[in-house]
Amino acid sequence: MYYKFSDFTQKLTGSAPLAAYSPQGLRLGVPAESPAMIFATPTKLVSEAQATVEYLGANKVPDFQRLFQASDSIPVHLKRGLPDRLLYRTTMALTLGGALYCLVALYITAQPRNK
C-alpha cells in the first residue's frame, strides 16, 4: 500500500505508487538539488553578447538578501534603517492623530442640531 499526505485534508490518504510520498529530495533518477533558480536573463543579440549583460540595472537581490538576513533582531519593517523609521513614524503619527480626530469629529456630528 502506498500513501501520500493530502494537503487538502491534511491526512494520509492512499495513493498510486508514482504519486506516493517520498522523503524530501529522494526521487529515483532525479538529482537531490532543487533546480537552479533562473533569474530573468535579457534577450540579447549574438553580436552584443558579453560575459554579463545588464538590463534595467543590475540584480541587487543577493545584496538585499544579505541585508535582511542579518541577525540583529531589528524587526523586518525597520531593517533598512532611517527611511524605514521615518515612514513608520509618519504612518503611526497619522494613525493615532487621525483616530483621535475621527473620534472628536464623530462626537461633534453626534450632537443634536439646534433648531
Binding site: P42, Y55, L56, K60, F68, H77, T91, G98, C102
Partner: protein, 261 residues
C-alpha cells in the same frame, strides 16, 4: 535565521494591520462627514493612511519572501488557497448583483411598463463602445498569459513588455468606461434599470482599477529581478485576479448590455 522545525512562516508582529484598520475607520467616517458637512479632511487622511499601509505591508511581504526566503512551498500553497478563496468570495459578491438584475428584468414590474428595458430608458448600444470594452479585457487576458510564459522562461524583456501592455489595456478600459458613464443617457437614479446597471458595472470598474493597480505593482518587483522562473506567486495572484475581472465583464456584457437591451 529562525530555528524552527517546520516549513511554515510564523509571521513577526508588525504595525500595518492596525494602521490599515484605522485607515478603514477614517475612510468610512470621512465619507459620512463628507456627506453631511462637505469636508474632506477625514476622507483624505484615511486614503493617505491606506496608501501608506498598503505600501509598507506589501514591502514587508516582499522582504519576508524574496529577501528572507520565508515563502517555502507549503507557505506558497497556503497563499494560493487564500487567493482562490478570496476570488471565490468576490464571485459570490457579484452573483448578488446579477441576482438583483435578473430578479428585476426577467419579470418586469407593471410600474416599469411591464417590459425590459423599462419605458423611458434608452439603453446603450451593445455593439458600440461596450463591444470595444469586451475586446479590451480579452486582449489583456492574452497579454497577461504571454507575460506569465515569459516569466516562466526567464525572458525578461518580453515579460516587461507584455505586463506593461496588460496595464495599459486595463487603463484603456477604465478610460472608456468613464467616458461611457459620462455620456450615458440614464443615471443611477433612473429606477431599477439605472440602479442595477451602475451598481454592477460600477463595482466591476472598481475591480478593474484594483486589478490594474495589482499588475502595476507587479511591474516593480519584476524590474528588480524578484521573480524567478518557478516562484513568482505575486504575479500569479495578479494574473488570476485579472482573469476573474475579465470573466465578470463577459457576464456583465452578455446579461446587462446585450440581453438587457
Amino acid at each position: 535565521m529562525a530555528h524552527q522545525a517546520h516549513a511554515y512562516h510564523m509571521v513577526d508582529p508588525s504595525p500595518w494591520p492596525l494602521t490599515g484598520a484605522i485607515s478603514a475607520l477614517l475612510m468610512t467616517s470621512g465619507l459620512a462627514t463628507w456627506f453631511v458637512y462637505k469636508t474632506t479632511t477625514l476622507l483624505f487622511l484615511g486614503t493617505t493612511l491606506l496608501l501608506l499601509t498598503m505600501f509598507q505591508w506589501w514591502r514587508l511581504i516582499i522582504r519576508e519572501s524574496t529577501f528572507q526566503g520565508h515563502h517555502t512551498t507549503p507557505v506558497q500553497k497556503g497563499l494560493r488557497y487564500g487567493m482562490v478563496l478570496f476570488i471565490t468570495s468576490e464571485v459570490f459578491f457579484f452573483i448578488g448583483f446579477f441576482w438583483a438584475f435578473y430578479h428585476s428584468s426577467l419579470a418586469p414590474a407593471i410600474e416599469l411598463g411591464g417590459l425590459w428595458p423599462p419605458t423611458g430608458i434608452t439603453p446603450l448600444d451593445p455593439f458600440e463602445v461596450p463591444l470595444l470594452n469586451t475586446a479590451v479585457p480579452l486582449a489583456s487576458g492574452v497579454t497577461v498569459t504571454w507575460a506569465h510564459h515569459s516569466i516562466m522562461e526567464g525572458a525578461r524583456k518580453p515579460a516587461l513588455q507584455s505586463l506593461t501592455l496588460t496595464v495599459l489595456l486595463g487603463l484603456y478600459f477604465t478610460a472608456l468606461q468613464a467616458m461611457e458613464y459620462y455620456e450615458a443617457p440614464f443615471t443611477l437614479a433612473d429606477g431599477v434599470y439605472g440602479c442595477t446597471f451602475f451598481v454592477a458595472t460600477g463595482f466591476h470598474g472598481l475591480h478593474v482599477i484594483i486589478g490594474t493597480t495589482f499588475s502595476m505593482v507587479c511591474l516593480l518587483p519584476h524590474t528588480h529581478y524578484h521573480f524567478t522562473s518557478n516562484h513568482h506567486f505575486g504575479f500569479d495572484a495578479a494574473a488570476w485576479y485579472w482573469h476573474f475581472v475579465a470573466v465578470v465583464w463577459l457576464f456583465l456584457y452578455i446579461s446587462i448590455y446585450w440581453w438587457g437591451s
